[in-house]
Amino acid sequence: MQFAPTAVLAVLCAALGLAWVVEPSIAPDGWCGRLAVLIGGLLVGLLAIRIVTVQVSKQAQAARRYIDSLCELEPHALHDDESSNAIPLRKEDHVWRELCQRVRRRLAEFASRAEDLEMTRAAGEVRVRRIVADRDRLREILAGLVDPVIAVDQFGEIVLANASAERLLDVKTSGDEHPALEQLKHCEQLVSLLGETRRRRAATQRSAEVALADDDGKPHWYRVTCRTLADDDEQPAGGDRPAGHGAVAVLTDITGQKVIQKRNAEFVSSVSHEMKTPLSSIRAYVELLVDGEAEDEATREEFLGVINSQADRLQRLIDNMLNLARIEAGVVTVNKSALSLNELLGEAVDVMQPAAEEKKVTLAAEFSPLYLGVLADRDMLLQAAINLLSNAVKYTKPGGSVTLRSRLSDQEVIFEVEDTGVGLSSEDCQRVFERFYRVKKDSEMASGTGLGLALVKHIVEDVHGGRIEVASEPGRGSTFRVNLPGLAQLNA
């Protein structure tokens, strides 16, 4: 039964009953009759209302069941008309069907949006986790860098400094502490470089070499590479924004390179000096000969002799340099053969005799009467012996003497060069074999490259497995002793 006609009938009955009560003329006679009609009307009205109420309540329950069923559906089934239509809905409840379908569609919409949101959130979470991991890794790499790294933002505040930078520049940037760049002490050059780079409008990179003192106050040279940093997106792009970017500076310690550069420059300078000295003599004597200044044969002989010995000297210098370079680069070829040490030393004495005589230094040889066999590279060992002798002659004053000895000791053969020269302090004795090392007072006294003894040590120790040592006393002379592993010893 429909709600509207039932209600109309009930109201009509009630109105008729009321009319009869008010206007008895249109009603049947007698109170009883009228009362019966009135009560009848009221009852019919009440009945109609009751019927309507029950009907409405049933429909509401059906709708609730339907919505309950919808709620139990999986979100994806909400989109599916078929599965939602499978929910039982009685034919009489068709009034609600439309409404329920709309609710379902809205629910489906919300469900789909919720699903999208969830996916976005999950993707976001993954990204955040990855970014955090990346950041932690970068932070760890940065912290572990030996090279100091320091960055400032566009306001000139230090936003990042790794451990090396904090130590070197004495600055702290942990947490929210962002000290101003200008607070960095004793590194004006770095401050101005970072400041200038930061203020540049266009992206730029500049580098410079600056000297900074380390923890112990020792000066170090750094190559600073300074680069602008891209703008921070979070900053408002308004008019109050300062012009410029942030900047990052990476400092590379180049102290070692500087030392090598300086040494190389000194080396080239001393080598060229060493080469110019014999060359000067050669040139001077050649000119004298060409100009016909030497009139007698003896003088000409003398001049040619000088030219010859100076050419030899030049040759030895070049050999020393090349051999040391080859040995240090590991590209040397060693040709070892069994040979007589005494013979080889005799040759070295012959080579050095003219130079010793010229300087009025007595060069004596005291060789063992035994055959001292060694397995050696002839040219190299000869060069080592010549270097030792030439060194001894160089540092011995005229009138002094240089003695070359050889002897056998257990399984080793020994040769030593003793001079009556200027001698060495104990510190010099320890360092005299270092490449380029030159005894202080001698750098004034005698010229040299600081290569000769370094080469001797290489030849004796690295190439021949022997050892070299020096005993000396300042003012009393020096003795350089070389021990080499011996071959089978036979009577000479």
Binding site: T277, S281, Y285, L288, E293, E444, A446
Partner: protein, 136 residues
């Protein structure tokens, strides 16, 4: 009267070559193996000109020049310097501080050295100098 020249060099051959050249030209030549030796020669007998190497034991060429300038008796003694090394000082400084009249780079030509010595002794102020070469 023949001129007297003092040659200072620790390299005996160079000393001998220069000595030979100047002796043949009629000079009286004193030879010294280092600055100290040279200074002793000067004190014994004042030469007319000094030719000295720069790097020498005991007393360097610059040290010798300084002594010569600081001693009134020798303050005007002309000095020519030979060197195989470059100088940190400019020629102007060498002139002002040490009174070096001329700087010659090694290797040098005895002929050229002789010509310059003659020029300096003849009182020619503008003697050509080879500072640029000596710096190499």
């Amino acid at each position: 009267m023949s001129k007297r020249i003092l040659l200072c060099d620790d390299e005996l051959h160079i000393l001998r070559a220069a000595e030979f050249k100047f002796k043949r030209a009629g000079y009286e030549v004193d030879c010294a193996g280092d600055g100290q030796d040279g200074w002793e020669h000067i004190q014994r007998q004042r030469p007319d000109i000094v030719v000295t190497d720069c790097q020498m034991p005991r007393l360097s060429g610059l040290g010798l020049a300084e002594r010569i300038r600081q001693t009134p008796a020798t303050a005007d003694l002309p000095i020519i310097m030979l060197s195989a090394k470059g100088f940190e000082l400019s020629l102007d400084q060498l002139r002002a501080q040490y009174g070096i009249r001329c700087l010659m780079a090694k290797p040098f030509s005895p002929r050229e050295l002789f010509a310059r010595v003659e020029a300096v002794l003849a009182g020619q102020e503008a003697v050509k100098c080879e500072l640029a070469d000596a710096r190499s």
